[in-house]
Symmetry: C2
Subunit: 238 residues, 2 copies
DNA sequence: CGATCTATTGACTAATTTCAACAAACGTGG
DNA sequence: CCACGTTTGTTGAAATTAGTCAATAGATCG
């Protein structure tokens, strides 16, 4: 429990807000004005930032690190909703209602979180109405992503979802002409399984099948090389 | 194809915007100013309002009727994302990008849709910044619903999802002390199955099991009486 | 009243999970 | 830097769950 609370002063790159898309379109002067509302907190790997059932803390913006947002069933099975990286936020609903948090947020690596209290956020939006638009853009995009997650879970089987998620992870670093892309998982295979709504065992088996068929090559625990992108695309249900 | 286009004039209850939560906090004068941007269109039952791949049309607000938003797999399986009722909207992403629509929208009953073009919407938000906040509230709530949909699909089996969805449908009309609630499905059982990510047959079987066990009683095609709410809650994975 | 759409049921098959045992990789402290 | 304990990942066999196909029944609508 080594997290410490302090106001959001200059960090190594200047104001922490520079990392935050919903705020970094402001002028330095405006940022300075807002910065007094923000407090920052550190979480070690494995620490829970919030848990389902907690009182809402306001808007939480990831300044640095990586955060797993998930739901747990009563039998302990986990469904990951998304992985937050620097600049992402959570708790937008706290702007409108006093509600209890419905998901768990866990730091996957050492993480800095900026917090803006509900009442302060209202002032900020009042002074800078463009922030509401930025929030709307982000939330709309997350909704689009969430709906595509529903699509994946509802329409495709495990094999198709595994193929799809590998392709998505590779997408960022894909070089169009090459069919061979190496990717390093930023989360464990266990977490990857939970993201696509299956078990470790099923994921492991499907990856083994893909490897047998020559579609991928696995090295160590977290490195996957895509050898036949077309084959995976066909499987994933184009 | 009997849909006709006309500007959003007075309908039976006055300006169509009165039905629309994102707009109905405005004064009559403000509404009048906005109304010139809005055009309204009618769709018969079964007509497609938009289809995946279409160019975005701007913000579409349901004025009257019911709309099914869904995704289709390449093999024709359907996943319903949500059912829109009067006051709900779609196409919020069109405020930010020129994008192609990623879902299908079909009128389930005769439906009136108001359309505000992307560029006009930008003017409107500029003149009435509170609309951005209203949109943000709505989209944030939809995201919450979408994430709970992901949870259902990822963590619970068909039996649990069936129990849960019946309880949800009943919730609106639940009378706390009575354990017996009658509900009438506003969608077909086929659509209900597609909403919870299963097949007609599996839904039908699970409902039959619940009926055998005395948890529910089905009458006709669309009426379900809940006889033992507790039993369903236990099943659904509290 | 008949045609069409919607729902149910049975038998079978396929997909996925579960449980259990094992193996590999990781990181911590000596 | 190595050894050991812990975590993470893999594999097999069995059990369960859900989906498919096909036939039938029931509603609904013009």
């Amino acid at each position: 429990m080594s997290n410490s609370e302090h106001s959001c002063e200059l960090d190594s790159q200047g104001l922490c807000m520079h990392q935050v898309p919903i705020l970094n379109h402001l002028t330095d002067k405006e940022m300075l004005e807002i910065s007094r509302y923000i407090e920052s907190r550190h979480f070690d790997k494995g620490e829970m930032i919030v848990m389902s059932g907690d009182e809402s803390l306001g808007l939480l913006v990831i300044n640095k690190g990586e955060v797993k947002i998930s739901k747990l069933s009563s039998h302990g099975k986990e469904q990951i909703l998304r992985i937050l990286k620097a600049g992402d936020f959570m708790g937008e609903l706290s702007l409108f209602h006093n509600y209890s948090i419905t998901s768990n947020a866990e730091a996957l690596i050492p993480t800095e979180v900026c917090r803006i209290k509900r009442s302060d956020m209202k002032h900020i939006i009042n002074d800078f109405p463009n922030i509401a638009l930025k929030l709307l853009e982000e939330v709309s995009e997350r909704l689009e992503t969430a709906e595509s997650h529903i699509e994946q879970l509802g329409l495709y089987n495990v094999e198709q979802r595994v193929a799809k998620v590998i392709l998505q992870l590779a997408e960022a670093k894909t070089n169009p002409q090459s069919h061979s892309v190496a990717l390093t998982l930023s989360i464990s295979k266990g977490n990857l399984a939970s993201l696509i709504g299956t078990t470790n065992e099923s994921l492991s088996r499907k990856l083994a099948v893909f490897e047998d068929q020559g579609f991928i090559k696995q090295t160590g625990q977290r490195s996957i090389q895509i050898l036949d992108k077309d084959a995976l695309e066909n499987l994933s249900g184009i």
